[in-house]
Amino acid sequence: MSNITKLIIVAVGGQGNLLASKILGEAALDAGIQVQMSEIHGMAQRGGVVESSILFGDAKSSIIADGEADILLGFEPLESLRAVAKCNKNTEIITNMRPLQPFTSAIGLAKYPESEEIEKLLKAKSKNFLGFDATKLAIEAGTSLSLNMVLLGALAQRNLIPIGKDLIEKTIKEKTKKQFAETNLKAFHAGFQKALELSK
């Protein structure tokens, strides 16, 4: 399984997972690295979960089975926990820790787990865990919509995928809408910095 890196990204519809995945795909194309990406977004617009899998390197498959992700990048803590079956003991988890209540728990029909419990479980299930309030950093950068860029920044800092920080930055500049480019880059750097601090 040598030169293949398997990344799972999970999010709630509207959090910008697919744009983040596309940026990584475009960056891989630019770097001359083979890449396969797959997305499941059946009813995302209607509040569902959006999952994408990205395989860098010499794989033909575009999906990742349970236990086979090298990295789990979560945009929402509950969804990170739900996707933890994709991990094995060597998986690294990077996740936003700001909850986005599903309707079931928002109206009291189900209980959303405590943040501490989610963090404890994700730590126990991974080789390395990096969790922080990425939504806060996105808002500070200009808009909560740049959450995806904050998480790309953190991913870039961890040096887990075969694509460097500069190339992702360049792709964000070129492939995201001009009027958001500045905010996006600010958010990306904020995520990068945060990961750097937390990794020390």
Partner: protein, 617 residues
């Protein structure tokens, strides 16, 4: 210029499978394309629709798949390269056309794309449309990857012209919705002006003509079988005593698996890309001197049964397995791990897969089920209909966003079968049980095939009520046009608009009323009156989809808030409507202003009048 028209030949692009397919069709010089929208095929149509606005390509959203294929049959027989595309169940609707079109054949390439959906990510069944190739007697092509899909669809047009037969291009969700790197090639300029040469003795399918044409079809199929043996999309890869036969995305999983298992020198692969008719000579060569053969295909054992029959005629006795309780299932889609385990198990190799972490200690996690959007007018109609019809009425429903109405707390929808079936099934329930019956159907689904059910209901004098949820667009698949849509709002002049009320009245429906569903009282009254009416009654609930309205810049400027001094926590709003804009904080209901669309439905049902509008600054 459209992004799929940009980029020099040999330039490389990171594309979605459906974008790659659209580009492939353009490179092939497609001149005419028709569809009815359906996941997972929708993005192909969306791209071709955009491209048609700046090129000579003729593209249309037909009102159903049968009509789409009828147009395509005429176009291809007038000398234009034609693509007709649909989701897998759409081909059931178009099957009547396909079965005889195979007899009549085509003059220019006709590719019929069926997007199958193993695992039913967004479908009502996971039928395997490869059988249609066998049933109709036409070739089936199946790409294994995004980049192959782009090239293979061009070959599909060539093959169709070589045989003068339509060709089925069968994808699965995993190809449609994967992205990969593809290389652009030259675009062939399409021939866009067709000519039909009259030839009734070959085109008018009366028995005498069809008897002749059936023979032509069988001759063409024989020719196709020869082509299958030499087709570059059918190949054997590798060497070894063990053999794996696989198609579509399974080929990717097989390749990755044998590499992961380190058995590349022990296993050879036969990949039929042109999988109907199957390549007999290639299969014989593959089976010869092979100890064991595993057939890896999602869905039905189509190839497995065929390969076994070839082995039987050749008196080859090697073990051939595929669908088996210990190996591969007919259910759902495969993944690399399923395929790797099957290979390891069948051939007896050690499988050192990564072990998933133990998840037995995870708490019960709150689900995130799909829900009707905040402010969706369907919710208002369901609320009013439930008040009008109560729980004893039977509520057959149909295919669209409103299918989600069956989930709690709305709980409206007792029987959903296929596109347009709500009205026919309502008639059946009403007659057989004698109960009050109310069918729900969307505008696009009504035009698709519901209209036939209504016509039948009037003729046979059924006693049913139909509520047409007219949200002015085809919402579920991404807001595609349908015959009721006002195309001028989208900047198009060259379309007409069909008025549902006029259609319903012209069919002779005895009670027809159009309501604005956000007015709960009037909607409820209209449905009550309709249900009292003896015979067929129709209520049209007309309100634009909230997402569509927002896209068109017609979103409401008001949001509603709960006045906590007045609220006595009856919670009718939360318990009866279940709008996702509600949340509970400190045991009080609140409305998320970011999500509220100002529909006012909750305000109308609050017994304390505790919900009131707030102007957005």
């Amino acid at each position: 210029m459209h992004k799929l028209l940009q980029g020099e030949p040999e330039s490389r692009h990171f594309l979605l499978g459906n974008e790659a397919i659209a580009r492939g069709a353009i490179e092939a010089g497609v001149a005419f394309a028709t569809t009815y929208p359906g996941t997972p095929s929708s993005e192909i149509s969306a791209n071709l629709f955009e491209i048609s606005q700046e090129t000579d390509l003729y593209f249309e959203y037909s009102s159903n798949e049968k009509i789409a294929l009828e147009l395509a049959s005429a176009s291809a027989n007038s000398g234009l390269r034609t693509l007709c595309l649909m989701k897998h169940v759409g081909l059931n609707v178009a099957a009547d056309v396909l079965m005889t079109l195979a007899y009549l054949g085509v003059k220019k390439g006709l590719v019929l794309l069926t997007a199958d959906d193993p695992f039913m990510f967004s479908s009502q069944n996971e039928q395997d449309n490869r059988y249609y190739g066998k049933l109709a007697g036409v070739p089936v092509l199946e790409p294994s990857s995004v980049d192959e899909a782009k090239e293979m669809i061009k070959y599909a047009f060539d093959l169709s012209e070589q045989l003068n037969e339509p060709v089925i291009f069968r994808t699965t969700t995993r190809v449609n919705h994967s992205s990969g790197i593809v290389e652009f090639k030259d675009i062939t300029l399409p021939q866009t002006k067709g000519e039909f040469v009259k030839d009734p003795m070959n085109y008018v399918s009366v028995p005498a003509v069809s008897r002749k044409r059936h023979k032509v079809l069988l001759d063409n199929l024989e020719k196709a079988a020869t082509i299958s043996d030499s087709c570059s999309y059918n190949f054997i890869k590798g060497k070894g005593n063990f053999g794996i036969i696989c198609n579509g995305v399974s080929y990717a999983y097989v390749c990755d698996s044998i590499k992961d298992l380190g058995i590349e020198d022990k296993v050879k692969i036969l990949r039929p890309g042109l999988s109907h008719p199957m390549p007999d000579a290639l299969i014989k060569e593959f089976l010869k001197d092979t100890e064991k053969v595993l057939v890896v295909e999602e869905g039905e054992p189509v190839m497995e049964e065929y390969v076994r029959s070839v082995a039987q005629t050749q008196k080859i006795t090697c073990e051939i397995k595929g669908k088996h309780k210990d190996l591969l299932s007919r259910l759902y889609e495969f993944n690399p791990s399923i395929v790797r385990s099957a290979i390891a198990k069948f051939f007896g190799f050690e499988n050192k897969s990564a072990v998933p972490v133990d998840i037995s200690d995870l708490p019960v996690l709150p689900n995130r089920p799909p829900n009707l959007c905040a402010g969706c007018a369907h919710r208002a109609v369901f609320y009013a209909a439930k008040k009008a019809g109560g729980t004893d009425t039977l509520y057959p429903s149909d295919i669209g966003c409103y299918t989600l109405g069956f989930l709690p707390p709305v709980g409206m929808g007792d029987f959903v079968l296929c596109m347009g079936a709500s009205i026919g099934t309502a008639c059946g329930f009403s007659k057989s049980t004698g109960k009050n019956t109310l069918a729900f159907i969307g505008d696009s689904t009504f035009f698709h095939s519901g209209i036939n059910g209504l016509l039948n209901a009037v003729f046979n004098n059924h006693d049913i009520t139909v509520v047409i949820l007219d949200n002015r667009t085809t919402a579920m698949t991404g807001h595609q046009p349908n015959p009721g849509v006002d195309m001028t709002e989208l900047g198009f002049e060259n379309y007409n608009q069909i008025d549902i009320e006029a259609v319903v009245k012209s069919l002779g429906v005895g009670y027809v009323q159009t309501v604005k569903p956000y007015n709960i009282r009037k909607t409820q009254e209209a449905i009550e009156e309709a249900m009292k009416f003896k015979g067929v009654s129709v209520v049209i609930a007309k309100e634009k989809c909230v997402l569509y309205a927002k896209q068109l810049g017609q979103g409401k400027k008001t949001v509603f808030q709960v006045n906590h001094d007045k609220c006595k926590n009856h919670r009718n709003c939360v318990n009866d409507l279940g709008c996702p804009a509600f949340y509970i904080e400190k045991d009080k209901v609140n409305i998320n202003p970011e999500m509220c669309t100002g529909c006012s439905v909750c305000a109308q049902i609050c017994p304390e009048n505790a919900i009131s509008p707030v102007k957005i600054k």
